[in-house]
């Protein structure tokens, strides 16, 4: 057995050996990435919108306190109750208290990565409340007791046959011999089961894609319409949103909305984009009687004054993971964090309670495809490098010593030449005419999965110098 140095390494090894996962990864993220390319090509203003989006986010973050205050004032004027939650635990406490106050038993929930971040579902269930995830992907994961593996397609790692088996196991009230062979049949069954929950729910919890300071609104986008049933049928609606979701005006929200769906799934816009402002109005015949917005910090304000603040520009489209060669090889679960992929590598270590010392930032080839598709131009590579620098500063003496020795050597060309010539000559001798090593002491982590090419006697620099002499410029 080979020893894995970290959970990420062990997870990655397991993911690479998981054939079902590899099949899903071969199709879905690449499909999203191709659709994004087509959507971008169909919108000549895409790059101009990206720059505008970046400026909007930077401006908002530089004035975050004032925009949050404006949001609170306008939301309150629309009879929304705004709550401030500095920590994950505080947010869960607030939501649990609202559920208890309204004597809730059944809670419907639409997609919210922030709720995953704070472990809300488990907290409510521990308080004997029934919580139903209504995004179809999230529902599949809930009945399997699994975590999301992608931020917008949480169940991409599952096949239709897996889901059919889960439904037979979980929906015992339905006839056992029913046909579940097609995705249509599966969707139809989930629709029927979840519709009863929507209609019976006491409290609906949604996330928010954006909060609009000027109107006190939350913007929620879905394709399924589950958020709309969640926020219009129960008597209480709770929005859980992190503080960086705020944007100044509707007009600026439209810039971000024009980028969001195109970057996420390649759609021009999702089927439903909903601006919700407060509870039902006096003359309304439907809608909740109370509306709450819980604003979560959970480590974000610590990033504001640092060279990692660009993380807070993120609008959670998932484009970075769709193009990432590392995500594409190991999938989202291997990261072991709520947020996977490149954005997860830079956001996760900033969240309190995560014990990642920048290890996730190591899971990158620094190829830069992630930042080339990021709709808000987050410098993901530079941010990952900053986490690596932090990891280096707190790394083991052995690792730091080796890197320092390497830096010393690289900064002294004569010493470097000498060492390179020695190493190449030694390896050439050891190879004894073979083209490659299948095993090499001290480099078994390389040779475990591939051959190490044997040097052919001379260093590159020497060969280069010789060739330059032959062909004078």
């Amino acid at each position: 057995m080979t020893r894995a140095a970290s959970p990420l390494e062990a997870n990655a090894a397991a993911a690479l050996a998981d054939r079902r996962l590899q099949r899903a990864l071969a199709e879905v993220p690449g499909g999203f990435a191709a659709a994004r390319e087509r959507a971008k090509a169909a919108l000549p203003e895409f790059e101009a919108l990206r720059r505008a989006a970046r400026d909007i986010k930077d401006h908002t973050l530089a004035n975050l306190d004032l925009y949050l205050e404006e949001f609170e004032d306008n939301a309150t004027a629309a009879r929304t109750k705004v709550h401030w939650a500095p920590t994950a635990a505080a947010a869960s406490d607030i939501i649990l208290a609202i559920c208890r106050e309204s004597a809730a038993r059944l809670i419907t929930k639409s997609k919210s990565m922030v709720s995953e971040e704070i472990g809300l579902g488990a907290r409510l269930q521990a308080a004997a409340l029934e919580v139903i995830e209504t995004d179809l992907g999230d529902y599949l994961l809930q009945i399997r007791a699994e975590a999301p593996s992608h931020i917008i397609a949480p169940a991409i790692h599952l096949g239709a046959a897996d889901i059919a088996a889960d439904f037979r196991r979980h929906h015992r009230q339905l006839p056992p011999e029913r046909d579940l062979a097609s995705p249509e049949a599966l969707v139809s069954e989930a629709r029927g089961v979840l519709r009863e929950k929507f209609l019976a729910a006491d409290v609906g919890i949604t996330g928010a894609n954006f909060l609009v300071a000027a109107t006190g609104s939350a913007i929620i986008v879905t394709n399924e319409g589950n958020a709309d049933l969640t926020l219009s049928l129960p008597k209480v609606h709770i929005v859980l949103a992190s503080i960086e979701k705020v944007v100044p005006t509707l007009e600026e929200a439209f810039v971000l909305l024009r980028l969001l769906a195109r970057s996420a799934t390649g759609q021009e816009i999702t089927a439903y984009t909903t601006f919700v402002t407060g509870p039902r109005r006096p003359q309304d015949h439907d809608g909740p009687e109370a509306c709450h917005v819980v604003l979560l910090d959970n480590g974000r304000s610590d990033l504001l004054g640092t060279n990692l603040r660009e993380v807070l520009r993120c609008i959670r489209c998932g484009a970075c993971m769709n193009v990432c060669p590392v995500y594409g090889a190991i999938g989202g679960h291997a990261y072991g964090s709520v947020y996977p992929g490149p954005i997860g590598a830079v956001l996760t270590p900033a969240l309190p309670g995560t014990h990642d010392g920048g290890e996730l930032a190591g899971a990158s080839t620094f190829c830069g495809r992630c930042e080339s598709v990021c709709p808000i131009e987050i410098p993901l590579v530079a941010l990952m490098r900053r986490w690596r620098e932090r990891a280096f500063a707190s790394g083991s003496w052995r690792q730091r010593g080796m890197l320092r020795a390497w830096a010393l050597l690289a900064a002294h060309p004569r010493a470097y030449h000498l060492m390179a010539r020695l190493a190449v000559a030694t390896l050439h001798l050891l190879a004894r005419g073979r083209g490659a090593f299948s095993r090499l002491p001290f480099a078994d982590r390389w040779t475990r999965t591939r051959d190490f090419p044997a040097p052919q006697g001379h260093t590159f620099q020497r060969l280069w110098a010789r060739q330059q002499r032959k062909q004078p410029p």
């Binding site: 899903a24 199709e27 000549p44 203003e45 101009a48 919108l49 004035n63 975050l64 004032l66 949050l68 205050e69 500095p86 209504t134 179809l136 992907g137 397609a153 169940a155 599952l158 239709a160 995705p183 249509e184 599966l186 929507f198 000027a214 109107t215 609104s217 394709n223 399924e224 319409g225 589950n226 709309d228 049933l229 219009s232 049928l233 100044p248 005006t249 509707l250 007009e251 600026e252 439209f254 024009r258 021009e268 816009i269 999702t270 089927a271 439903y272 984009t273 909903t274 601006f275 919700v276 402002t277 109005r281 309304d284 015949h285 439907d286 809608g287 910090d297 304000s301 990033l303 004054g305």
Partner: protein, 226 residues
């Protein structure tokens, strides 16, 4: 929390110059870029709106004038073998239609009930940029009609087809007589759908399985008359 944010931003709570800077920015905003496709003139605008609806799989039922709406609705329901029952809000435009012309069609008023099969709403605007219907919640058009029934039918006048989302908001403010938003402002672009099962798009995830737009052309023709 705000104190912590201010500390991180190195800003004081009484820093009035920052507040004034934001007010000045709001008063004279730098307009963000609006795509050309959100600024198309007529008649391309209507054609683009229809093309976007077709690409979403939304059915389009053109009628020359509002009095033809009950007939178009009844024909559509019959063509899809749907029950001839319809729920609508108190919208005066919808209430004023000659429903008596279709005696077989049972029309009731109010928010959606649990077993509702067909909901009818009027859109404040249609957005040509992406084929998006803009609905404002309220007693006139209860939001549940757009999400609970299996079939959602939306009436929109050709003169209400605008280029982009920004213009739709202007129309909404003009109609409501206030810039304040309704409880929900719904941008609807196609029927409910999901890609969560093996990446395949399936319609009718939680909301309507079917979306139809009744496009009323009369108003535009009237405007063309000098």
């Amino acid at each position: 929390m705000l104190a912590k944010i201010r500390a991180a931003l190195r800003a004081g709570p009484t820093d009035e110059s920052r507040r004034r800077a934001l007010e000045a920015r709001r008063a004279a905003p730098v307009r963000p870029p609006v795509p050309a496709r959100a600024r198309v003139p007529e008649p391309e605008r209507l054609a683009q709106f229809k093309a976007c609806l077709a690409a979403q799989g939304t059915d389009v039922l053109p009628v020359a004038q509002p009095s033809q709406i009950p007939g178009a609705v009844a024909d559509y329901l019959r063509a899809h073998a749907l029950p001839l029952r319809l729920r609508r809000g108190a919208d005066p435009d919808l209430a004023a239609l000659p429903w008596q012309d279709e005696p077989a069609l049972v029309v009731t008023e109010g928010p959606a009930r649990a077993d509702e099969s067909v909901g009818l709403s009027r859109a404040v605007a249609g957005v040509a940029e992406t084929g998006t219907l803009v609905l404002a919640s309220g007693p006139h058009n209860p939001v549940t009609l757009a999400f609970v029934p299996d079939t959602h039918i939306v009436v929109v006048r050709c003169e209400a087809i605008v280029g982009g989302y920004e213009e739709a908001c202007e129309r909404l403010a003009a109609e409501l007589g206030s810039p304040a938003l309704p409880r929900t402002l719904n941008l609807i672009s196609g029927a409910s759908r999901t890609g969560d099962i093996a990446g395949r798009i399936v319609k009718g995830a939680h909301g309507p399985r079917r979306l139809a737009v009744i496009l009323v052309e009369e108003c535009r023709d009237q405007r063309l008359v000098p």
